[in-house]
Amino acid sequence: MGWDSALLLSLAVDAVMLTWIVVPAVLLGILVGAIPGFSAQNTLIILLPLTLAMDINMALAFMVSLYCATHLGGGIPAILVNMPGTGGAAATTLDGYQMTLKGKAQQALVLCFVASTIGGLVTSIATVALLPFLAQVGMYLRSVEMVAVMVFGLVLIAAIAADDPLKGIIAGFFGLMIGAIGTDHIYGTPRAAFGFLELYDGVPLVPALIGLFAISEAFSMMERSTIVPRSAVVDTRAHWADTLEGLRLSLKYWWLTIWTSFVGLLIGVVPGAGASIASFVAYQQARMFSKTPDEFGKGFAPGVVAPEAANNGVTSGTLVPLMAIGVPGGSTAAVMMVVLQYHGIVLGPRLFIESPEIAYGIFFSMTLSYIVMLFTILPLARYMSQVVLIPTRILVPMILSLTIVGAFANREYVFDMSLALVFGVIGYIARKTHYHVTAILIGIILGPLFEQYLLRSLRIGQGDLTILFSSTIGNVLWAFVVLSVLLPWLRSRQQERRRRVERETPTALTGDQPR
């Protein structure tokens, strides 16, 4: 699709008209981001009935604003209590908490807010400009390449997200297998539906999502009385001088903000890489190119700026593969995919031709939400940390009951509530044993799509599986699949060897034998 200024103008006007839904979503997102262990996708799942009942543009504006705001909110407890609200804020703790210990909490918060909003704003505008090119790239992908893209995306998510790549890949393929439940596309014969008519259309995504993320998270949360111990909360009083100093530092490091936000955007485009990886990569980059690398980790402002700009840069990036090829770049994008599919939106290259207002509208909403954030967050910063003190004995029942009702809302089957509970138990076991739930969910989402492309390829090849290795782009992707399996495996073997050497060295010195 070419540049159509009339369309862009009308999308900008539409985005501004949705400010009334963006403001509460931003406030809720900041609140949610500040609760460690509670993420954008969990909130979106809890609010799924509300989102599904909304008009598609409103629902997308709400989801995108909430998603972006959680990345900003995640930095608050990371700075105040050394506990990242989201995985993407883990790197922020390194210097943010050190600043708090030095009595510069307010400055650190301001740095975090400005870097987050500028990082998100710059990348969402850049993504609008880049999307037409990305959409064209999607056009070159046919069935054979799409099979490779899906396996690559799944393996990448599994290998990067899970601590143990093999466990992650098993989880991903388990998800794909669950996604194969239901009637086949050609003859309509049910497969592995356990005799349930409700599964003839395949495993519904909403209950799977609710179970794997929200219910399993609630079960894990029960092990703590409050999400953050009361003793961990630091008294932080706001002083305007600190706020102004934070703003001055933000201006001083403007180039770092821009640069690391693009690092985030690039990493976000890779399915599965996500905010955690982006923020650590950005932190490393900032340190590597710094004139004073030794200052990092001691409460140095760039140590807050770099990870925060990067984890907000990721927000635009993760939506790119979702829009361009229909593969969600992360778990929140997966939730959005569910909502888009519910509204009958077909994702992939054709989205830019058939529904350009959806494809571009998302990024306009994102831009608006960052502008709203910039003006709302500063006065609210000091109150945010109190959220982490909500007792889990109130929070857990709320999450469980609301999500179970949410599971019903999508198809209006009581069966779906039971399904959510079953997935909740599977998700809890998967979390406890480090089989990544995101990989299972992405597998379930990709299952039907994978079957569609695989069958199309096999019919072209008259049942010959070697058709999958007949295209150059496809073969390059298969090579990446092999590399993304082998590299983490080789790395873990190397670490294992290093650990063994470390273990044996003191034994040799002391003569002490392990029993």
Binding site: A53, F174, A180, R191, V396, L400, V414, E502
Partner: protein, 175 residues
């Protein structure tokens, strides 16, 4: 031997590998069920499950071999770790699952609002909340919010019960 090395050795020896087998066993069981139950279908209907299933079974085999090697090296046991240990939280978790099953079974009669109110009360009670005012306020607040936002305002068709049948018509709606 340093404390750190000793701790690392202890952790490795205490690895509960039985728990690591739960997901693979579930996955392998489901895959075999899929392959057997679809064996008499035409190839188009079987192709996807067979391709994925074969890869999954191969991956599971690798994981099992890895666990067996760890057991042979003495770097873990077949225990279930936290999942198999009986703790107060584990008991509460099972009780909550029971309450949720009861909620799902009875929702066609109790309806969403009353069901939610009762499940919230029971869940908070199980988790140790005993103040009657807090119990009633939170459970009532959640149930009332869902009723007002989803059933009255958005007109979502949640299972109706006594509350919906009495109150919604009074507000000018229909169940």
């Amino acid at each position: 031997m340093s404390q750190k090395v000793l701790q690392s050795l202890r952790q490795r020896r205490n690895a509960q590998l039985g728990a690591d087998l739960i997901i693979p066993v579930l996955a392998a069981g489901f895959t075999l069920y899929y392959l057997i139950s679809s064996s008499n279908l035409v190839w188009e209907a079987r192709a996807n499950g067979t391709v994925i299933g074969v890869v999954l079974l191969a991956l599971i085999a690798v994981q099992v071999v890895r666990i067996v090697l760890n057991l042979r090296n003495g770097t873990g046991s077949l225990g279930f770790g936290d999942l198999g240990r009986w703790t107060p939280a584990q008991g509460q978790r099972l009780a909550l699952i029971g309450v949720l099953i009861l909620f799902i079974v009875t929702i066609p009669w109790l309806g969403t609002t009353l069901g939610l109110f009762l499940v919230m009360l029971a869940a908070m009670w199980i988790l140790g909340l005993r103040q009657p005012v807090t119990l009633l306020a939170v459970a009532g607040g959640v149930a009332a919010s869902v009723f007002l936002v989803f059933i009255v305002l958005l007109g979502a068709r949640f299972p109706p019960g006594p509350v919906e049948r009495v109150v919604v018509p009074l507000l000018g709606g229909g169940v």
